[in-house]
Subunit: 184 residues, 2 copies
Amino acid sequence: MNRDFTFLGGAAGAWRVVTLAPVVGASLDPVERLRIVDRRLDALPEGARWMLRGVTSHERYVTRAEHATLAAKSPPLGRPAATRAAMIPIRKSAEWWGLAQDERRSILEARSSHIETGLAYLPAVARRLHHGRDLGEPFDFVTWFEYAPADSGAFEELVARLRRTDEWAYVEREVDIRLARDGG
Amino acid sequence: MNRDFTFLGGAAGAWRVVTLAPVVGASLDPVERLRIVDRRLDALPEGARWMLRGVTSHERYVTRAEHATLAAKSPPLGRPAATRAAMIPIRKSAEWWGLAQDERRSILEARSSHIETGLAYLPAVARRLHHGRDLGEPFDFVTWFEYAPADSGAFEELVARLRRTDEWAYVEREVDIRLARDGG
C-alpha cells in the first residue's frame, strides 16, 4: 500500500481552498486549489505554488487497546458526503523532540487527552496523518481531515479542544487550511 | 545539527570492509570500502556500488530515566582508538510495524532487554542509529558502531545477545558489515 503523499497548493486540484490562515508562525502562500498526489514528488510541478510531502507510518503513541477502539470507529477517506476537508500542517519545537517517549506520551494523552478527544469525533471526521519531519520537510506533520458540511461545527470544536491542550504548547508552527470539494 | 547521512559502498572511503555477510534475507553486493557522507544523496555517485540513506531522529522507545543513563555513558563517534566499526542495516517485518507502541516497547525492552543490553557495552561501543523506513529505503534502520580492537570480543557478544531476543524474530532482513579504519 502506498505511503507517500504530496500536497500541492496552486491553481488546480479537486479541492477548493475556502480559507488559509496561520495559527502560529509563518503561513503558507495563499492558493486557490489543492491537489493531493499519491507519491513523493521531487520537484514542484508547473502551476503549483508550494508542496508539502509526508508519509503515513506506524503509530507512535497509541496502545493496542486504543488502536482497537479507533480502528472500529474510524471511517475511510473519500466518503461521498464528506465534501469538506481540513489540511493542518504543524511543526513541533526542538523541546518536544528532545523529550523521551514516555514524556511525550504523557503530555499527549495523560495531560492532553489527544487520542480520547479524537475518538469523540468518530465516525464523523475521517483523518489521515502524514509524517514529514524525517523527510526534512518544513512541517513535522500534515493531518488531513474529511467531514460532511453538517459536521463542520463538531470539527471546529475538535480543533479548538486540541489547541487548548498542554501538547499544543509545543507547536511552533501551524497553518489551517479549509477546503470544499466541487459539489460540496 | 545535520541529521541526514548516506552510506556509500564502493571502491573508496575511509573504512575498509573486512567482512560483509547476510544474517537473514538478501545480502548487499560485496564492496571494498565504505564512505559516509553527511547529507542525503539523491543519486548513486560514480564509483559507488550501492548507497543506504538514513536520518537520525528522536528516540522512539527510551524513557527519560533510560535516556539519562544512556547519555551519561555514551561515547562520541570518532574516538582515535576506535579503529573498528560495524554497519548493520536491518528491516523489520510488516507484523512488527503493525504492532501498537506499547506492544513494540514491551517486546523491545520487557521481553528482549534491548536497551539494558546495549547499556552493558557502554562506553566501549559508540553507536549512531539512522532511520530509513519513512524515506522508502530498503532497510528500516542502519546502525553504525565504533569500537577499539580490544573491544571486538565484547561487541560480538552484544550482537549475539541481541540476535537471540524475541525482538529479533521480527527482523526479516539483516546484513552485517565489519570495517577497519586505515591504521586500525
